[in-house]
Amino acid sequence: MIAAIVVNAGDNVATALESIEAGQTVDAGAVRLTSVDAIPRGHKIALCDIAAGAVVVKYGSPIGTASSPIAAGAHVHTHNVASTRGRGDLQAVRRSPDVNPQGMR
């Protein structure tokens, strides 16, 4: 059994504390699942299926959106998660949904 840390109960990813090989059983707090990819130490594993375009959540807050479908147990990183901030390449400001809690600009 290998451990991954879930920071917030609302997260859909966990952080691998040691390198994980594909097919290993991973203990991620309340969830136990099987890795489908190799996951380097310190990288993230999906705790559930995440649809393309869905929000990836860590620390209880959005850290980006899935740029392709992510299966439970898959490696979650730059190849399948897009940032929504500072995207000058897209030339349109997007904001996290809860970025403006007090209605201020």
Partner: protein, 391 residues
Amino acid sequence: MTPGPAFLGYARADGRVGIRNHVLVVPTVICAAVVAERVAAAIAPVGAALPHLAGCGQIGPDLTVTHDTLAAYARHPNVGAVIVVALGCEQVVAQQIADAARQAGRPAHIVSIQAEGGTLRATARGIEIARELAASMDRIERSWCPASSLVLSVKCGGSDYTSGLASNPAVGRLADTLVDLGGAVVLGEIAEIMGAEHLLAARASTPAAGAQLLRVVSRVEAEAMALGVDIRGTQPSPGNIRGGLTTIEEKSLGATHKAGERARLEDVVGYAAPITKRGLTVMDTPGLDVESVTGMVGGGAQIVVFTTGLGTPTGNPIAPVIKVTGNARTAQTMADNIDVDVSGILTAGEPFDAAGRRLFSEVLEVASGRPTAAERLGHREFAIHRRNPTI
């Protein structure tokens, strides 16, 4: 002895408290930097130079920031006396830097390279003054000062997955503890708040402070976007990405843990501008480590607690920088740069509160004079943030 947590500091005439007693040697302009460094080296380690790249060819806000940053260091509580090394024809006015020090009750002298007649004479004159000042520094004694007189800069650099999971939350406990005692904490690096600003704004003590934070983050994001590229690659950096950080949002959410969990956001200030409120202040600095630390110390922080996952050596000319890592491998491979190892949070179940208490003890000991790894190694990085081109 003051009731409550205290350290042995330098109570200054202007009411502020220093934790070091440097003779600061300030070049007004890059042309005076070599002479300034030689003067400071002659009285090491009490001498501290501020070599920088600016001081001439600047217009508008950039000139103001250079001048104000140098003046802020000249009256900093960790400085006991000042020598300004001028060339003689530059924009930054030596007299104004010296006046800033004198108004704060510190002796200040000016050595002009053109007036003295060249490098050798200016260096000799500077060293003569520096030795007298260094001798007078020995006569200033430390006394017990309350922890509430500290302005703590919190910083991270070379982040990896351990930063957000271990070292930054541990520093956050330290920040909350210090604010509970009446002290001040400053967080910089606006780009590394992007994606976590909602959490800090929700802790603002006034609507104005929260609004100002959101404005500054929006401005920095717009500046980055105006370049027409994806910020990923810079934020997070290639090393951050190898270390497991996927997006700037993820990096920011981990990074802002340094600012505590409950300390109220009291103020948002410009680069190197005075930190006047107790509680949490956010300073408008870039993410580049040395420019960020330079600005926060300029604002009045006497001490910096700096977390790192991958390891980084950054120090400061006048403020001790305490390096903290949550990465057990880095604690070993870069042992000479690391002051506090909190990797037990991830490997041995050390509670955040326990790690925070260890950090608080470390801060008080370093504030009382114990050198940090960066001080022992001579890391004195200094860089003034620039926004405009050199003209």
